[in-house]
Amino acid sequence: MKVLVEFLGYAARKVGRNWLWVEVNEGETLRDVFLKYLGLRLENEVVEALMNAFMRGEVRVAVNGRVVGSLDAKLNDGDKILVFPIAAGGDTCFEKMF
């Protein structure tokens, strides 16, 4: 299955791209997307920083527009995942959050 992961604001800046398609298996979750698949495409410290920001509530994750509380949400083919700071904008956020 393919899911689209989109990044906003300083999340996009840290990752270095606005979006990418990720190929996942049936039954896999958001956690798999972050730890397994993003880990293949991005540097470890970037993925770690994103996870930590998520744990601290500074970065939110929404699947098809619904903000999720945990990364255990199972995914479906074509899901749109948005990784975004609570409000985005400006270079100063970038240094502070990461």
């Binding site: 906003l8 527009g65 619904r66 509380g69 609570i86 409000a87 904008g89 400006g90």
Partner: protein
């Protein structure tokens, strides 16, 4: 009674009919019972504007009121609050804008200005400390806000602050607004049309006084705390760098930012609102008086037919009203039309909503080229939108009907147009869809000023802050809507900026600390003992909310007016994340009235509720009019 510290201690009554100005001492108990700003407006409107008054006749009044902290070093307490009977809703209205005007009025020595009567010919009022002059405005009548402001400053003082109307207000466009010299706008509700009906072009103010604070040391300490909390707030950087533009794209994804006049189908090219696109236009940051958040930005356009524009940027609501709800993703056209609204003095939210309404009527064939003088109002056409904004401002052609607002225009046009008028109590609904945020939508329906997003802006559902609440559930939403409305009424009685409250609450991580801090800083400035108790501050919020409601009840409003368009009640929301949702109005209203302690059938506050809030005199009058039983 005690001495009043912090406040200027005076109310200025301007009688335009007789060109007279009277200064009244601010009563101590009014300050204690209503704090200031929106609280003062609610109290004075209840006392002085009798039911049935035509909003555009001389008997209507407008109260401009400020915080007791206006002009002090407290951050973000320097807004102008305008309260009046609205020509749109025919009920109580409060509208608010930032800038420097309020702080200047405080410096001149006034906590509130009551505007009444009607001038015989175009007039402006020049307030210079204790000297008040009614001056001829014939030479600037008809001019845009910026044109008039420049001339008026030349003839008064270049450092004076100005609040003015443009051609739209002069032509009694029902969605016309007041505009400050730095283009902040107490925008909604048609306040501009009221000034137009009174032949009032502008108020120009300059002052030299400073209020005396009750406890300078405590005050200084609390402001230092405020600044620290702002700096560590997770929301500060975003507002500071991009203002309300920091949330446009996310909100669209989360189901807000409704498209196509609330049809809410997917909007192609919505990526245009990503922050990295919007920030490229910014060439300058600026703020209001004593506010370090400085969420104001200026844009410069370098391409397309509107290249060369250098103006205030469109806010979140404006990106929606002149953009998404019209299916428009042309940022240049949005920015240009935003500038026209500032110059002509038009509420961007209502104006854009009217354009979207007209576009849907055009799509359905209810409005044709014949009625629009050949202007093809197709969805997504930014240039057509710009032209229609101009026509509305100047009441030209179809603009003359649309200038009445969507509800009245629908009545005039007929042919089923009312199905597409997205309003509540005749105020056009702003950039959130009730089906995607239920408590927030419940505030749209129950708001004392009609379809307003700010009267009950639901940070819990929209931002998930200070705690996350699922926006799509229905349980407990009556209590949540009331809580948010009362908190907002309380901090608006204190004259605080809503964005600043968000920043500070995000910094503390909870609302209770914010309200406690606010009560303390009000006490430190004014010495009023009651303010020390945060429970009392919340009570004032609920009291103000109920006085506003009582004003509307006196005007004849009941449960039937707490209404939302059929599209929102019956048509399932078509896109994620709220796909399939409808707005369960009746169920949510029942829940809300129970939470409010109001009559379930009529939505009228009960005598007991009013008495608990110290409003027996309000209950007595409503009983005399047969609106409540004893």
């Amino acid at each position: 009674m005690g001495k009043l510290y912090g406040y200027a201690g005076r109310i200025l009554r301007l009688d335009l009919t007789h060109r007279s100005a009277v200064k009244i001492e601010l009563p101590y108990d009014m300050a204690r019972d209503f704090i200031g700003a929106r609280g003062f407006g609610a109290k004075i409107l209840w006392d002085e504007v009798k039911p049935g008054v035509d909003p555009l006749c001389p008997e209507n009044k407008m109260i401009l009121a400020l915080s007791p902290l206006a002009g002090t070093a407290a951050q973000s307490f320097h807004r102008t609050f305008a309260m009046f009977k609205s020509p749109l809703t025919c009920g109580y209205f409060r509208s608010t804008g930032g800038g420097f005007f309020a702080a200047e009025v405080k410096s001149a020595g006034y906590d509130a200005i009551i505007i009444e009567g009607r001038a015989e010919k175009p007039t402006y009022v020049w307030i210079h400390d204790d000297d008040i002059e009614f001056r001829d405005a014939g030479h600037v009548w008809g001019a845009t806000v910026d044109g008039a402001t420049e001339i008026l400053r030349e003839e008064t003082d270049k450092n004076a602050r100005v609040l003015a109307i443009g051609p739209a207000g002069e032509r009694l466009v029902r969605v016309a607004c007041l505009v400050t010299d730095d283009y902040r706008t107490p925008g909604r509700g048609g306040g501009g049309a009221i000034w137009g009906s009174k032949n009032l072009k502008a108020i120009v103010a300059l002052g030299t006084k400073k209020p005396e604070l009750f406890n300078e040391d405590l005050f200084r300490e609390l402001v230092k705390e405020q600044i620290d909390v702002y700096k560590r707030s997770p929301l500060f950087d975003a507002f500071h760098s991009l203002g309300t533009n920091s949330v446009v794209y996310q909100f669209y994804t989360l189901g807000h930012n409704p498209t196509y006049n609330f049809k809410n189908t997917e909007l192609e090219n919505a990526e245009i609102w990503r922050t990295e696109v919007l920030e490229k236009y910014v060439i300058k940051h600026y703020g209001c008086f004593t506010c370090m958040i400085a969420c104001g930005k200026k844009w410069k356009l370098t391409k397309g037919p509107y290249a060369g524009l250098l103006w205030d940027f469109p806010e979140y609501e404006t990106h929606w009203s002149l953009g998404s709800t019209c299916g428009i993703t042309n940022l240049e056209a949005i920015a240009y039309a935003n500038m026209l609204c500032d110059k002509y003095g038009l509420d961007t939210i209502s104006t854009g909503a009217i354009v979207a309404f007209a576009m849907e009527l055009y799509e359905k064939g209810i409005l044709t080229d014949r009625e629009t003088d050949g202007l093809r109002l197709r969805w997504g056409d930014g240039d057509a939108m710009v032209e229609l904004v101009r026509k509305i401002a100047l009441r030209e052609g179809i603009g003359n009907i649309l200038a009445e607002g969507t509800a009245r225009a629908a009545e005039i046009i007929g042919r089923g147009a009312e199905k597409f008028a997205m309003h509540s109590k005749c105020l056009e609904l702003p950039a959130y869809d009730p089906r995607a945020a239920k408590a927030h939508g419940l505030s749209y329906a129950t708001s004392n000023i009609g379809g307003s997003h700010m009267i009950g802006w639901n940070k819990y559902e929209i931002l998930g802050m200070p705690e996350k609440v699922d926006p799509l559930t229905v349980e407990g939403k009556g209590v949540l809507a009331k809580r948010v409305q009362d908190q907002i009424a309380a901090f608006e009685a204190a004259g605080w900026c809503a964005f600043a409250e968000l920043v500070q609450t995000a910094g503390y991580g909870n609302v209770e600390k914010t309200m406690e801090w606010m009560g303390k800083v009000l006490y430190a400035a004014t010495g009023i003992e009651e303010f020390k108790d945060p429970g009392y501050i919340w009570l004032v919020g609920e009291r103000v909310y109920n006085v506003e409601r009582a004003f509307n009840v006196r005007e004849g409003m009941t449960r039937k007016d707490d209404w939302l368009p059929e599209r929102l009640q019956k048509v399932p929301f078509p896109r994620d994340p709220a796909r399939g949702q409808i707005f369960e109005l009746d169920r949510l209203l029942d829940d809300y009235y129970a939470a409010r302690g109001w009559d379930a059938k009529t939505g009228v506050p009960t005598r007991k509720k009013l008495e608990d809030l110290g409003l027996s005199y309000v209950a007595d009058e409503l009983e005399k009019l047969g609106k409540i039983s004893s």
